[in-house]
């Protein structure tokens, strides 16, 4: 069953890597086993994430549309301020979502794209895991990766370790050290991405209660889990994972700066900076006026001019 679902994705992954490698050999990297194959994995990440960028900007645009409904949003938040019982929290999310729907804008990324990304990782994992078998002729070619190409890839080196080396079974100190460095890099990037997210970009409500306990636990738990499973990952997978983390980190950094989550620490900083910018430009902050405006009068002309001030 896995083969029918992942087969076409494995084929696509193989072709993207092969194409990246082709480009790299034409800008001066040597043919055969070389660092170009390591960079091809990095290239794979970049290609996938570039394809997903339009979705990312769509989300950013959607969250800009949120400025229009600030007064109503604040009215809802005021209504449930200080209430932390589950029923109030649920009602808050429910009413907030209904408001987004009413205005035809929604700041959330949506679930499907994230779900669709995981098969890509599994496909890559399988491609890299099968390299030795393909090279030995025990398995057929995946797309352009036939026995000789598979042999080139698996013997390509980073820090003196082969892409198909696994920490647990690697022979020689070099391979072990390289694998260990990459495992640490993978865990560290995971940790910092999570910490940046939970500390800076989550609303205060999400940082209290039972969820917060889990967060604190998992912030350390995930790197530990990755470290333990990382000793079974081929170097190539570690390279992919670390690169993905680095990209996510950058994207998250941008997101937190430009469109912080409502009610988060990042939003407070964002608003402070915006207010300072407005003051420098000589714009009188109209925000208090908007907050006091009752939700019903949002469509009144005065409130609308208020929201137009950036």
């Amino acid at each position: 069953m896995f083969d029918t679902i992942l087969g076409p994705i494995e084929w696509a992954v193989a072709w993207i890597m092969y194409a990246c490698h082709w480009v790299l050999t034409h800008v001066g990297f040597s043919e055969g086993p070389s660092f170009a194959w390591v960079l091809s994995i990095v290239g794979l990440v970049i290609v996938i994430r570039i394809i997903l960028i339009p979705l990312f900007f769509r989300q950013i645009r959607a969250s800009r549309g949120m400025q229009m409904m600030q007064p109503e949003l604040q009215a809802i938040q005021k209504k449930y301020k200080g209430k932390s019982d589950p029923a109030s929290r649920e009602a808050l999310s429910r009413e907030t979502m209904a408001l987004y729907r009413k205005h035809g804008t929604n700041p959330f990324a949506s679930c499907l794209p994230i779900l669709l990304q995981s098969p890509i990782f599994f496909a890559l994992f399988r491609v890299l895991n099968h390299l030795p078998d393909i090279a030995d002729g025990k398995r057929g070619a995946i797309g352009p990766i036939n026995a000789s190409v598979a042999h080139d890839i698996e013997t390509s080196q980073i820090f003196g370790a082969q892409l198909s080396d696994v920490f647990k079974s690697a022979e020689g100190t070099n391979a072990k050290v390289a694998a260990a460095i990459l495992i640490v890099a993978m865990c560290a990037t995971t940790f910092f991405t999570q910490r940046q997210l939970t500390m800076k970009n989550m609303p205060k409500a999400a940082l209290q209660g039972p969820m917060a306990q889990t967060q604190k636990l998992m912030l350390w738990g995930y790197p530990v889990v990755f470290a333990i499973s990382g000793i079974n990952f081929p170097i190539g997978v570690l390279v992919y994972w670390t690169t993905t983390n680095l990209w996510s980190m950058g994207q998250q950094f941008y997101t937190i700066k430009r469109m912080p989550a409502p009610g988060s620490e990042a939003e407070r900083i964002y608003k402070e900076k915006k207010a300072a910018r407005d003051r420098a430009k000589g714009i009188i902050p109209e925000e208090p006026l908007i907050i006091e405006a009752p939700a019903a009068s949002v469509s009144s002309p005065s409130a609308r001019t208020g929201t137009r001030v950036r």
Binding site: L99, S110, T214, Q215, G221
Partner: protein
């Protein structure tokens, strides 16, 4: 409900609960709907059984895409396929007349 069906239900719901407990808190809020796709799936399977529950959950996941508007979308009551709340607040006469907006 037979024991086997109950076991299958639990087997379906367990990984979603695990996701909600350990994975979701570490990710940015993602879902465009209320209730979220994961809690929708749990309710759908518990209320409508394995087959219909899975179909409803899969359909919800497909709808939770970058082009959808999101909003409040509760699991339909027993015997129905349409959400009682999805078109709430949209204020189109069509929905009011057809009685889908509560």
């Amino acid at each position: 409900m037979s024991r086997a069906a109950q076991a299958v239900r639990r087997a379906l719901v367990a990984p979603i609960r695990w996701y909600q407990r350990f994975v979701s808190p570490m990710r940015p809020a993602t879902c465009k709907y209320y209730p979220s796709c994961s809690s929708y799936a749990v309710t759908a399977v518990e209320r409508h059984g394995i087959l219909k529950g899975l179909v409803l959950a899969a359909w919800r996941l497909l709808r939770c895409n970058p082009w959808s508007k999101g909003g409040v979308d509760d699991v339909p009551p027993l015997g129905e396929w349409r959400s009682p709340t999805l078109h709430e607040g949209q204020h189109t006469d069509h929905h009011r007349l057809s009685g889908t907006a509560v």
